[in-house]
Symmetry: C2
Subunit: 588 residues, 2 copies
């Protein structure tokens, strides 16, 4: 039998027609001489009817069916009776009278039901991933992911990008995150590394004159895992020659527009808003601001200066900041105890405390209300944009601590109060990043993006004097408070690249040893170029409205980087290690 359509697509246009369907038994209702089967495939569910009158042999087969059996059926589509119409189902107005059925495969009882909102452990879901993926929400998530890549290919192909694959067996570079290594058999004691990104290869492709490159590329980082990290992840990676940062952003906006249309049928407005990194930190306390809601950070220095509240006064005297956010309607919703509980969360950012007042019709209330006289109350309310019933939260500290703390609280309160429109997709560019950031881990400045990022033209000379003051021709694209991707104009001249490595603490020799092969390439007519990479996993996660990238990856690793289905990683035969010239260290 050749299938004529999918179960989920049977509708009134098929009335009185014969259809052949193939799928899985979702459930069976046996009324003796009448049996109803819900048959499921990737497009949805349709109701099958079996009876003596329709077909005796088919009825007998239906009697033996159990959940998840695979069957093919031939039958006629008919209208349901009015009282049997199910408005919740796409196919709810019709059903199929089955006169022929074949069981294609049987099924044992599955360890969990094939339905949405199951409540089983992640590891059980991963061990039986092939069953987990049968659930409509997982099918939908992977279909959205597929539509994203579909739009990406189509848009970039149409815009003269060339899809070029870069190597996965490449050279280890100790800079950055930890590499996954691959021992070489031909050269014992030597290793390939799996790429953390195709960065240098895509730059070389610009050196090779391809002008516009893209790739949907797997990347690998052997990092300690966090909620939304996986050992392997996928990047929509592109690079172009002879374009400015602004032009690359505009091109990317076209891509985002195409993706949103294809994946969700959502129209987004372009141009997408651009704000500088400084502005993002000042207004939202975050370099990946969620701009779906207000509650912006307001500078209170002018309003609270010399008010007599020591914490504020001293912070300002020491060159620090006092800033505030307003929690709308927070007066009633939060008790003193609940507010103070939030204080704990911001300690990790180095905040020493959280000051707050409730706005009442009489002025302010709360522990520090007494410091505010009538004029202070008026000015604070005005600058903060607060009204009666609101809660105002203050943090007084260095710029960074203030931003991190209030940036965190802004999102946390907004989520609790449900003031974020979950159906909105708010993109924003964050541009003009610092070129370097201070690494607490390495006690030195490291590249904020990577060492190949071009400084702003006017900042090139800072590389040799005050590199940490330099800003970069770099840009991140942010969606709903998540960094969706980022990019930059790259360095295409050897002398600037050498200065960059020097500013990063490389000696001439160590830079040459590690990146000499790349800097040599810059000597042979390298064009100005730049690019961008978008995180496909995160993009899919946001569009599928999931909270973990595992939910949009077919076979992800669990939180301990293992894969419960195939049981990878695993021990291997001694012969395999011998061929690689490797020994496993004895552990005591």
């Amino acid at each position: 039998m050749e299938r004529t359509t999918y179960c989920g697509l049977v509708n009134e246009s098929y009335l009185e027609k014969e259809v052949v369907l193939k799928g899985w038994v979702q459930k069976r209702r046996d009324l003796g001489n009448l049996i109803f089967i819900d048959l499921r495939d990737r497009e949805g569910i349709v109701q099958l009817v079996f009876s003596q009158e329709i077909g005796e042999q088919a009825l007998h087969v239906a009697e033996e069916l159990r959940t998840e059996f695979v069957v093919e059926i031939k039958g006629k589509v008919r209208s349901r009776k009015d009282d049997a119409i199910n408005p919740k189902m796409k196919t709810g107005k019709v059903e199929v009278e089955v006169h022929e059925i074949n069981v294609l495969n049987k099924a044992k009882t599955t360890p969990f039901y094939i339905e949405d909102d199951i409540n089983v452990s992640d590891d059980l879901r991963l061990k039986y991933r092939y069953l987990d993926l049968r659930r409509p929400e997982m099918q939908n998530a992977l279909i959205i992911r597929s539509k994203i890549t579909q739009a990406v290919h189509r848009y970039l192909d149409d815009n003269k990008f060339i899809n070029i694959e870069t190597p996965y067996l490449t050279r280890s570079t100790p800079e950055g995150a930890r590499d996954y290594l691959v021992p070489s058999r031909v050269y014992p004691g030597h290793f390939y590394a799996l790429p953390q990104s195709p960065q240098l290869f895509k730059q070389l492709l610009m050196g090779a004159g391809f002008d516009r490159y893209y790739q949907v590329a797997r990347c690998f980082r052997d990092e300690d895992l966090r909620g939304d990290r996986q050992p392997e992840f996928t990047q929509i990676d592109l690079e172009v020659s002879f374009m400015t940062a602004k032009e690359i952003q505009t091109m990317t906006e076209g891509l985002l527009k195409a993706v949103m249309k294809m994946a969700l049928n959502v129209e987004i407005k372009t141009p997408i808003k651009r704000i500088t990194w400084n502005e993002a930190m000042d207004r939202f306390g975050s370099d990946k601001p969620d701009i779906r809601f207000g509650m912006e950070l307001k500078d209170m220095a002018a309003a609270v200066a010399k008010m007599g509240f020591k914490v504020f006064d001293q912070t300002l005297e020491n060159g620090g900041q006092v800033k505030a956010i307003v929690v709308p309607g927070g007066t009633e919703k939060y008790s003193r105890k609940q507010i103070e509980a939030k204080q704990e969360y911001i300690k990790r950012f180095g905040a020493k405390g959280l000051a707050w007042v409730k706005v009442t019709s009489e002025g302010f209330s709360g522990p520090i209300a007494k410091f505010f006289d009538e004029e202070h109350v008026t000015t604070v309310k005005e600058i903060a944009g607060a009204k009666v019933g609101d809660l105002i939260l203050f943090v007084a500290d260095t710029r960074k601590v203030v931003a991190d703390s209030l940036g965190y609280l802004r999102v946390a309160f907004a989520k609790e109060l449900n003031i974020i429109d979950e159906n909105e997709f708010a993109f924003v560019w964050v541009v003009d990043w610092p070129l370097f950031e201070y690494s607490e881990e390495f006690h030195r400045y490291i590249a904020a993006h990577h060492p190949f990022t071009m400084p702003n033209e006017e900042d090139v000379e800072l590389l040799e004097t005050e590199p940490h003051k330099a800003h970069a021709q770099s840009y991140d694209i942010v969606l709903n408070g998540y960094e969706l991707g980022g990019g930059s104009i790259r360095i295409h001249q050897r002398d600037i690249q050498e200065k960059m490595f020097k500013a990063l603490g490389f000696t001439k020799e160590s830079a040459e040893k590690q990146f000499g092969w790349f800097m040599d390439a810059l000597d042979f007519g390298f064009p100005p170029h730049g690019g961008l990479a978008l995180g496909l996993d995160r993009f899919a996660m946001l569009l599928a409205k999931k909270d973990n990238i595992r939910e949009v990856i077919a076979f992800p690793k669990n939180s301990k980087a293992s894969e419960p289905l195939t049981n990878a990683p695993s021990k291997v035969a001694t012969k395999q290690l011998d061929e690689l010239g490797l020994e496993i260290e004895e552990t005591n």
Copy 2:
């Protein structure tokens, strides 16, 4: 300046218009007060003109330009004088009067010229791959490759396939070729393996109900390298549920049609011819026959039986074959010495000798001519389809040796005689393969495709009795004598899969240990399914008319699996090995 078009696209439609171009200096002709520059980008070359009259400042800049400098120019397009028209160039009727030019980057002298047909070592080309790739033939090869993937995505997306990524960090399976291993840091002494293909994962996706899957997937095999093998290669991988082998082939033909159209603007005819594996071996002596030309193998048993030539007689008595091919016009083109030299080549297939006759107007000539009487001559000429001036080559041996030897000679002579139409693309399906083949290496039968291939329905019971006689529901797609890809209907029932493992020499325990996790999946309602994989590298190689897949891979490994540009694989820091719990074996 914003580029208005590519150099290679400037034509008469731009006459008298201003253009902005960006590219590389291909060459400079300096006539003093008149300078011509050939400017190159990925689309081609256009001639620039500089003079005092057009622009003095631009002329001065042009004086300093050297090969491979990167420039941007603004200028006006004008017709060339009649005697200056270059019909070999796409842009040969026009040139650009440059009134503004900026040097974007300088270039040192390149180690080889940026032009086609260079004569330098492969390793030098790979070390400066970014320069090698600037050459038009390399640009063209990678653009063809990109167009193939473009067509693949478009066709499969349009046909409801879902693009799903499968893991690259997975479990090692000792079956098949050698795995690349990736040591785990979280579980010291344990290893991931890079996949040799997504085979089991794509089958699981059918178990998960995705119905139609595809992926352009990187695959990894740590094999000893041969001409057209690379440690990593790319597969166009697809799998579908509920379709027959024939339906999958028809679907694939649509894909091939789309690819040929997009990549080369070539229309191919469908349906593509199907021949069985037996027929391919009998007629062409090859399971990947080049059907662009005839010279088929003819069975000579009837014609030469009991002729008195011992080699033929004994072979036939022992159940062997005597077959022949005809080399058209071979009488004059090949001397006895040249023919006998060919004999050396077929010894590797186990052939003991090559018998031959030249067809003259008097009958046959050559060492064994005397064995043929008039009747033999007539019958042989008739069966072989030979005429005066042709050379007939005989091999007498087992079926396999005869096929391998004559199959080889057929192609070798056809190439030498230039009788193959190099502009033809001849696809053919080879179907109904044996399920097993005897491995000289392992001294046992191994799976001809892989252990998940479904036997022909009528051969399922042979699995338990005479497995080597079973044929499979498998199919290869062959292009111009190369295996472009292959696939099969897979086993979807546990009992058949168990029998298959048993026939391959697995014990119940060893099968369970290695593939238990997969066989468990077959218990939960696995649909009938099948699929196919096409080798992208080889496909691109054939369409770009190259003779090595390295020519269609941006950054390939050399013949010793190393990469001369980045110098991978390389030694790594002891710290990296310590974290993995690994030691390198001392070599004596």
